[in-house]
């Protein structure tokens, strides 16, 4: 977001107007820069051609890392680093390791996924992203076009015909 962009955007009052408009933009072959909504609108992702998020794969890998950390860590500590006999049981007593292995799996997976989520989205404490319109987090659904990608007049006539309640231009 380092370079300034000239954008033109339309605000819609309802998510169903938005979905219809995105469909129309697709059939008109207009390149949408982004769509901003106050809540997750279902059915929007396929229209925008967004592929399924791969966060769950990341979550699985982080979880596996947690499993291995706990399992190998306890194994090493109790068999190599400092073997102690507790209650006459074997040093390597796997059933007793299960609770901690499970907890660390969940812990690593949750922390890893959440951190990844904020990094790939470019979000975090202190991040200031350009605000397109203050009402996007309230009740407006926004389709934005980058003027360097789509001719402004084309975008404007599309927004007008697809039922946008308001049309604005802005540099962000």
């Amino acid at each position: 977001m380092a370079n300034n962009k000239d954008i033109i955007y339309g605000l819609y009052n309802d998510e169903e107007d938005l979905l219809r408009a995105v469909k129309q933009a697709n059939s008109d072959h207009l390149e949408i820069m982004d769509v901003y909504t106050p809540f997750p609108v279902h059915g929007l992702d396929p229209l925008l051609g967004l592929t399924e998020s791969r966060l769950h794969i990341a979550g699985f890998i982080y979880g596996l890392l947690g499993t291995l950390t706990a399992f190998l860590g306890m194994t090493w500590i109790f068999t190599k680093d400092w073997p102690i006999i507790f209650g006459g049981k074997p040093h390597w007593s796997l059933p007793a390791f299960i609770p901690i292995i499970f907890e660390l799996t969940v812990l690593f997976s949750a922390i890893g996924m959440t951190v990844t989520f904020y990094i790939v989205n470019g979000l975090g404490p202190g991040v200031v992203n350009p605000t397109i319109d203050l009402r996007i987090t309230d009740d407006k659904f926004c389709i934005a076009f980058d003027k360097s990608e789509v001719e402004a007049s084309k975008a404007e006539s599309f927004l007008r015909s697809s039922g946008a309640a308001e049309i604005h231009s802005k540099t962000i």
């Binding site: 901003y36 106050p38 279902h42 987090t137």
Partner: protein, 471 residues
């Protein structure tokens, strides 16, 4: 939004709300000055908190001898309170995780506050193991880290250490889940604010924009966190019950403990959610978002889990008798007619008998009855933990060491202090964050708002569904 909603299903959002009305109703409590009720509540909570801090310092300064524990009874109010708070901390993640997986839409009205409550309750709970070890300043020895004492490691075979891992993980995961849900709502607050307030909320909202790809990842993250938090929430109280079940004390050494503790935790957690939500919805005027229907749904959970707990109590008694093991039989006989018989009957009445009133629809839908019963259950669940801990320890294997225990003023003070911590944090939370998840309420409006469904619907829902079918 994507599936048909039965017209007899009760609307979850009342008052024909528009998206903007929802923002207005849910953000405005954080924007106006607090009312009298809040100020009085806050003053009381902070006083309790301060007294609790004093009692904790007193304990650390003079030692655990200021508690009325003795050589027979080594766990008293400390561990009772610990288990009680951890149990209360179970409803939030249950509501937000398990009900999300079960697609129960009524969770959206209460999940935010319930998750906050979970986090505050876990803070209160974690306090007790920290101070009851005596030397609170070396409590970090619990954690396995490379150290200069060998390195000497904690005992990974010990349920007490499992507990440390379970509770730390539970706290962190619950916090991440809660905060990630809050980020878009903080952005809503930010975009209505000016000046310093806007700057603060921009930091809190992490620069959220509402981009479609962000929402997609956000939903994916919430769903997976829910997926892994579900076994987590079940594991936490299971591991807490291992503290008892893996010991060789009659009355503790039972395989029924994990499911019985988990059911009890959900039961007490929902009771606390109801206690808080009934007050919150009244004070912040959220009756249209936390409806009688929400209260009824929670009362159904209370009825089910309360009855499971009742079955567990009776199963314990039956197994004690059927085992033919005289020490086990004595332990249960002692609970019912021993020196703490009043705690046992308090527990039975509060947890098993009182929720049965919710078989009646009229009672489930009565705010006053629900509020009263929720407090009775909170008390009953405290008694349950005291019965398990205090009563059992008071009569051990050796009659010459039998003893009786009642708390000292310090122990009572610390318990009151945790109530203070809990309510102080909760009251601050209601000032800082929207207590109902704004984005989630908006996303269910089209399928659960009373202008779209139910007897007052003005938009035909079939029209809406047909439109969806073309997608």
């Amino acid at each position: 939004m994507s599936h048909h909603v039965s017209s007899i299903r009760e609307p979850l959002v009342q008052g024909h709300k528009s998206y903007h009305d929802i923002t207005e109703d849910l953000v405005s409590p954080t924007e106006r000055a607090p009312g009298m009720a809040w100020k009085v509540g806050f003053a009381i909570s902070v006083s309790l908190l301060s007294f609790g801090v004093f009692c904790i310092l007193w304990t650390i300064w003079h030692g655990i001898g200021t508690w009325n524990l003795n050589r027979t009874i080594g766990w008293g109010w400390d561990i009772t309170n610990f288990v009680w708070w951890i149990g209360i901390g179970h409803a939030g993640t249950l509501i937000s995780a398990i009900l999300l997986l079960f697609r129960q839409k009524w969770r959206t009205g209460v999940n935010r506050a319930a998750e906050a409550m979970t986090i505050f309750a876990v803070i209160c709970a974690a306090l007790f193991p920290g101070i009851h070890v005596g030397r609170a300043w070396v409590v970090f020895y619990f954690f396995p880290y490379p150290n200069t004492r060998g390195p000497l490691w904690p005992n990974f075979n010990s349920p007490l250490l499992w507990d440390l891992f379970a509770i730390s993980t539970y706290f962190i995961v619950s916090f991440l889940f809660w905060y990630t849900g809050l980020v878009p709502d903080f952005a809503t607050v930010r975009d209505r604010a000016k000046g310093l307030r806007r700057k603060i909320y921009n930091v809190l909202s992490f620069g959220w924009t509402g981009s479609a790809k962000h929402w997609q990842r956000w939903e994916s993250l919430c769903l997976i966190l829910a997926g892994i938090a579900t076994p987590l929430v079940l594991s936490v109280h299971t591991i807490v019950s291992f503290d008892f079940a893996t010991s060789v004390i009659p009355g503790w050494h039972t395989t029924i403990f994990p499911p019985y503790f988990v059911a009890g935790a959900i039961f007490s957690g929902f009771a606390m959610v109801l206690t808080l939500m009934i007050v919150t919805r009244k004070v912040l005027h959220l009756e249209q978002y936390i409806t009688i229907g929400h209260i009824e749904s929670m009362n159904k959970v209370i009825l089910v889990t309360g009855t499971i707990v009742g079955v567990a109590y009776l199963t314990e008694l039956f197994v004690a008798w059927y085992s033919g093991y005289v020490y086990e039989q004595f332990a249960f006989f002692n609970r019912a007619v021993g020196p703490y018989w009043w705690a046992y009957f308090g527990m039975m009445f509060c947890n098993v008998v009182s929720p049965q009133i919710f078989w009646f629809r009229k009672m489930r839908r009565s705010v006053a009855v629900t509020f009263f019963i929720s407090i009775v259950i909170n008390i009953g669940m405290w008694f349950e933990r005291f019965v398990i801990i205090g009563t059992t320890l008071a009569r051990d294997y050796l009659p010459s060491s039998w003893s009786y225990y009642s708390p000292s003023w310090v122990e009572i003070g610390i318990f009151l202090g945790t109530l203070g911590i809990f309510f102080t944090l909760y009251l601050l939370f209601t000032r800082v964050a929207p207590v109902v998840a704004i984005a989630e309420i908006k996303s269910i409006l089209k399928s659960a708002g009373d202008q779209y469904t139910g007897p007052d619907a003005v938009h035909s829902s079939t029209e809406h569904v047909e439109e969806q079918a073309h997608d």
